[in-house]
């Protein structure tokens, strides 16, 4: 069993690292790649649930996750990026250095948080729930602190990944239909947001969200 635990922990650690990379890097292309990596890790994590006795349902699910989050989303996003001809995030509200420094502290808080509530653990790692919270926080942080519309999409994806991790951590399994529905939603979301960004870029000649502030009051 300890092997399982180590495996899960490794995945989790990698997950944390991806978050750090997201917070640290200004290149949108790299961020997208990292997201893809996160998706794949998520898929693996999905298999490792239920103490590593993969049921058909789990395999199907993780397959779906990997191909969606690991392949399709990045593909869509890269394409959008190409139309956008922006490569780098403009200077964010909170600098990369700062966010990198802050993030471990947040992680600590999350771990404490996870220890607070008594979750019925599905997988044999106490790290899962905290990482879920951490990822969610990162996603929010990306949305709030960055300026490019695309980054906000990425943030949203990270947020959702976080929720997934949490879903993975608790013992109940959604019926596959629901899971697929949820994935489908995520897909549509990315799709729609992509189109929206495309339109915004065409109308405004930029995709800086903080300059979208004509509607107020």
């Amino acid at each position: 069993m300890s092997f399982m635990t180590n495996l899960v922990d490794t995945v989790i650690i990698l997950f944390i690292l991806t978050n750090f990379m997201l917070l640290g890097s200004s290149s949108l292309r790299r961020c997208i790649r990292v997201i893809a990596l996160q998706g794949i890790l998520l898929g693996i994590l999905a298999i490792l649930m239920e103490n590593g006795t993969p049921t058909i349902h789990l395999i199907l699910l993780s397959a779906a996750i990997i191909c969606l989050k690991g392949i399709i989303f990045p593909f869509l996003l890269i394409r959008t990026l190409r139309d956008l001809n922006v490569q780098h995030e403009v200077e964010p509200f909170v600098g990369y250095g700062t966010s990198l420094v802050l993030s471990p502290l947040v992680l600590v808080v999350c771990i404490w948080l996870g220890s607070q509530l008594s979750l019925p653990m599905g997988v044999t790692s106490s790290l899962v729930a905290p990482v879920a919270f951490f990822t969610i926080t990162c996603g929010l942080f990306l949305i709030v602190s960055r300026k490019k519309a695309l980054t906000q999409v990425l943030g949203y994806l990270v947020l959702e990944n976080g929720i997934y991790v949490f879903g993975a951590s608790i013992a109940t399994i959604q019926p596959v239909l629901v899971e697929l529905g949820i994935l489908l939603d995520a897909f549509v979301a990315v799709f729609v947001m992509g189109i929206a960004i495309y339109h915004i870029n065409r109308e405004f000649e930029h995709t800086d969200v903080d300059r979208l502030n004509r509607l107020k009051g």
Partner: protein, 503 residues
């Protein structure tokens, strides 16, 4: 169980409809099809609701789909709002169609998304599985996003983007909450039989939910769906989206989408009330956020010059009223549900009139719009009527429901809430009245074109909605009374009728 088929029908017909929209050949056809298809679906939905009322609940495909008085009531509201909006939309785009702005492509997209959003909202209402319900809600957001910028402009794109991001994030939280609730069920895993989280199941075993997790879950749910419902301070997307969407869409937003979100919250409320240690959780949240919404709405309506934004903020206010109503015991819940119906009809009408007047004046700036009654008696009068009703003037129905809420507040002596409510409503009254007088009365500006004469359909819509509001204000049919009582029972978990239906 043959009645279960009805649920399938009302769920799938819209999907079919959205498909058909793609193969139509002219924008006019699309709009007409939307209108008539909607009428058909509306009828079916009402029939379904009738069946539900006749036999308390309907299940379908192994408890996945489920409908009871609460959802049936909302189904009726939805049917009403959608039918009115479609009917209105039929004429709304005429001008654009003539000018060729509203091309076939746009029309197709509009029709498709229109039916799709209908399907999504129906899914919310019929699904018994809370995860499915969430899927429905998220789909609603994504589908309606492009309805907002039916005609892409800077402002509409901005509004849509904000709507998209804010609501998606919010609803993601709702999903988190759903997971928490799911996690809270570990004590009775077995009995749920791997079928996800079914509301009916949870209702039965609610007592066994893990208090802590359920509590956290409900907080997430409340914030998440509250975002979609436009509760302050999560309401920020609402004025932008409403003001930028074409009027039929705004009407559907205010008229039903917000209520749909509230409906989800109601579902969870009925659960959380039964969880040991959390009896008052929902109550407190409702009071805080309801009053906050009313206050914020008052603040923004007071210094508002855009007619549609004003209506949007008024939606925030009314959602707030409904919310505080739900915190005030059986009578309050009864009143809140009643208010849902009233405000849906009234707000839709408001948006209809605002839309057409906006087309006439070419702007929604109320400093420009004057003398509407002279330019277009129908829409001017409609606006006057609907806004007067919105600010709670008798004998319109909203006065009745607000009266009941006040009574409930005094009965449960929530004095501070009452004070905020009345203060806010008075401020809003004064502000809205000032605006509506300046818009409706006075001498109109000189226009370069003659405003298009209002057809019989338009007259029908205005007269119908005002008529309904008037009738409900003066006389509540016993059937409606009973429906409301039963719907309230589901939320309250006790028999409401004893406190309300006095004979």
């Amino acid at each position: 169980m043959n009645s279960g088929i009805l649920l399938w029908i009302i769920l799938l017909l819209p999907v079919v409809g959205s498909g058909i929209c793609q193969i139509l050949r002219s924008p006019k056809n699309v709009m007409n099809f939307v209108c008539f298809g909607m009428a058909l679906i509306g009828i079916l939905e009402v029939v379904t609701a009738g069946v539900v009322f006749s036999r308390n609940t309907i299940f379908s495909c192994g408890e996945w789909f489920y409908m009871d008085a609460l959802s049936a009531y909302h189904l009726i509201v939805m049917a009403l709002v959608f039918c009115m909006s479609s009917l209105y939309g039929m004429r709304y785009f005429d001008k654009e169609i003539h000018e060729g702005i509203f091309t076939l492509k746009l029309a197709k997209r509009y029709g498709t998304l229109w039916f799709a959003s209908l399907a999504a909202m129906t899914l919310i209402l019929v699904s018994n599985n809370l995860g499915m319900m969430w899927v429905g809600m998220e789909t609603t957001t994504l589908v309606t996003a492009f309805l907002i910028c039916t005609r892409a402009s800077k402002a509409s794109l901005e509004g849509m983007w904000k709507y998209l991001i804010v609501c998606s994030v919010g609803i993601a939280f709702a999903f988190m909450g759903t997971l928490f609730i799911a996690a809270a069920t570990y004590k009775f895993q077995g009995s749920i039989s791997g079928n996800g989280v079914l509301w009916t199941q949870l209702k039965i075993h609610a007592g066994l939910l893990d208090p802590k997790l359920a509590q956290i879950g409900f907080l997430f749910i409340f914030v998440g769906y509250g975002t979609k419902a436009g509760l302050s301070p999560m309401h920020t997307w609402l004025p932008d989206a409403h003001s930028q969407a074409p009027s039929p869409v705004s009407a559907v937003f205010s008229g039903f989408m917000l209520n749909a979100a509230l409906y989800c919250i109601m579902r969870y409320t009925s659960l959380i009330k039964l969880v040991p240690g959390n009896e008052n959780l929902s109550r407190n949240l409702f009071l805080i956020f309801g009053t906050l919404s009313i206050a914020i709405a008052a603040a923004f309506i007071l210094s508002q010059h855009d007619l549609k934004r004003l209506l949007a903020y008024s939606s925030v206010e009314h959602i707030g009223i409904i919310t505080i109503g739900m915190a005030m015991g059986p009578l309050g819940t009864f009143a809140a549900l009643f208010h849902t119906l009233n405000q849906s009809i009234c707000k839709s009408l408001g948006f209809f009139c605002a839309g057409r007047l906006g087309q006439i004046y070419g702007s929604y700036d109320m400093r420009v719009m004057t003398g509407a009654l002279r330019l277009s008696p129908l829409w001017g009068g409609g606006l006057l009527g609907s806004l007067l009703a919105l600010i709670g003037i008798a004998p319109f129905a909203l006065f009745m429901s607000e009266l009941l809420i006040v009574k409930a507040a005094i009965a449960t002596n929530l004095i501070w809430v009452l004070v905020v409510f009345l203060l806010g409503s008075c401020i809003i009254f004064a502000a809205v009245l000032k605006h509506v007088i300046s818009v409706v009365y006075g001498t109109p500006p000189v226009l370069d074109f003659k405003p298009r004469c209002s057809s019989i359909v338009d007259t029908g819509i205005v007269v119908f909605s005002l008529g309904v509001l008037l009738v409900l204000g003066l006389w509540m049919p016993n059937s409606l009374n009973e429906i409301l009582c039963r719907a309230a029972n589901i939320i309250e978990g006790i028999d409401v009728a004893t406190t309300v239906c006095v004979k």
